[in-house]
Symmetry: C2
Subunit: 324 residues, 2 copies
């Protein structure tokens, strides 16, 4: 009788480029326990061991019994094979064709799921965040790169092979700058943190506040420096942010025209730059089809610091059919 | 006993800009009877009467009994409100906020469905055509404009308000030519029949075979004239088709990156121009993400002349849950 009302719990794990976080989460998205460490990038073996240790600590510290755990969700940046549970490739982690899902599953013997960070972010917002009330949403995470996740008719859309929603790799100008993916003119090559920094390095001059902020060391220019200079009134920095905001607006308008979603959620570090979003909104109004524009809400992400682990927990609940 | 094995039949209706076609179709996509007339464009009243007469003739000529008819499907070019069965707007027909579905339903009293021609084309290919074996496909119809229809996990994706899949209105170059939708640089403004003709009018000179073919009457330039000139070796016409093919390739690569579909089906008059498709394929190979490219088949539409009525019949079967 005593244990009969123990609420099922989930372990959500966010394997990020710099930090790995594991958390014990209940079905109402309360975080009961959280554990964070640097992500070791020397080898996949060390990274896997670190991930397993973090999960083990959750079990130990919280005295959670394996019987109470519905499952473990893993969110990883990069290209996943969802069906097989394999990290195919990760741009910032030493993982290639690694069956991470099965490794974790064999260790703990509870249902385990693996998906990319952008899908996980979309699931987090849909099931625990600002997207709860809608059935069709697109979640854009704009940081170093641009990730996309789509919820279509209440279901995660992964595409034929699990690599749908690569909205960052939608070309918005065929002659635009080269992108990390090998293509050129992708949204990511115009509107990510990396793109802002690269553009500033190309056009900076000695008159600009940017130049003073980095004391002439061009390689020190980052998106943060550009934003800082813009807020100090630097016209070059303001122009860069305006151009980036326009590009972002073109990309979001395309998403609106193609998906006719109820909601677009913009998260990630770049989403905090109000100047970008203001310009993007004006560009969206100019470019999106009127009926589609009328019904879409464009909002900021609601799950911030803990978006990764909550999204990974939502992945487990979703895959187990606990959320619909 | 005699009537017990009568196969259910569907009436598929294609209301096009120049012709309206109604056909009696069985569940195996056999056309048992077909009726075609010019589409009257003087008024919505006359257009509606014409549509109803065509359907009535199907009943009369085929002696089909209303009891045998599962339903009537209507495919119309333009923006539809699927839920309400309303033609919101049609670029080439005198229809605006017209509850066409209910008008037809009240007249014949059989289940009636209305959708736009691009969705209907996608359903036709999915259920009766080349898309039968796949669950995720995008169907592009390239004619005067560019229409898009999407099948996602075996279901038609209409978006929040029924106007998803406006792939023709995806911007591929922010500074590109103006588009009929009010935006600029849309795929449709680069790669439709209209776009080919407009581009040729802008750049034609007296040396070009195009100029000779139209005897100097610039307004007579059409996409067909450009293709004809290109096939006679005209370098200007060949350049135009190459540029248009490249733009089409950028658009299709974007679709591949965003949807990770199993199949892209290209139909419509422009899809018959082999030169366009060859250039587009080369551009797609350069621009699509490798894993997504590897798994997508890019094919021509399989339902040609009768795509409209077969698609409209597929709409009925799909909505009645007879196809899954």
């Amino acid at each position: 009788m005593v244990n009969s009302r123990i609420s099922p719990l989930i372990i959500g794990v966010d394997v990020g480029a710099t930090k790995t976080t594991a958390a014990l989460v209940d079905e109402q998205a309360n975080i009961l326990n959280l554990n964070r460490k640097s992500t070791p990038t020397e080898s996949s073996k060390i990274l896997v061991r670190n991930t397993i240790e973090l999960i083990e600590e959750i079990f130990n510290v919280s005295k959670a019994c394996v019987k109470n755990i519905l499952g473990i969700g893993l969110g990883v940046a990069g290209l996943m094979d969802f069906q097989k549970g394999i990290v195919v490739f990760s741009p910032n982690l030493p993982l290639r064709n690694l069956p991470l899902r099965d490794i974790v599953h064999h260790h703990f013997n509870v249902p385990t799921f693996l998906d990319n960070d952008a899908n996980v972010a979309a699931m987090g917002e849909k099931f625990f965040g600002v997207g709860r009330e809608v059935s069709n949403l697109v979640c854009l995470t704009i940081g170093t790169g641009i990730g996309g996740g789509m919820i279509i008719d209440d279901r995660v859309y992964r595409g034929a092979g699990g690599s749908a929603a690569e909205i960052g790799h939608m070309v918005i100008d065929p002659d635009g700058p080269p992108c990390g993916c090998g293509n050129r003119g992708c949204l990511e090559a115009f509107a990510s943190g990396t793109a802002i920094a690269r553009r500033a390095r190309e056009v900076v001059n000695e008159e600009s506040i940017i130049f003073r902020l980095i004391r002439g060391k061009i390689e020190d220019i980052s998106a943060e420096v550009v934003v800082h200079a813009a807020r100090k009134g630097d016209s070059l920095a303001k122009r860069i942010l305006r151009e980036v905001g326009e590009a972002l607006g073109v990309g979001v308008a395309n998403v609106i025209n193609i998906f006719n979603p109820e909601m677009i959620i913009i998260g990630g570090g770049m989403a905090e730059i109000e100047e970008l979003l203001t310009t993007a909104r004006a560009e969206i109004s100019r470019r999106a089809l009127a009926p589609n524009l009328k019904m879409v809400k464009i909002v900021g992400a609601s799950l911030r610091t803990n978006a990764g682990v909550l999204g990974a927990a939502a992945l487990v609940l979703y895959e187990l059919g606990k959320l619909t």
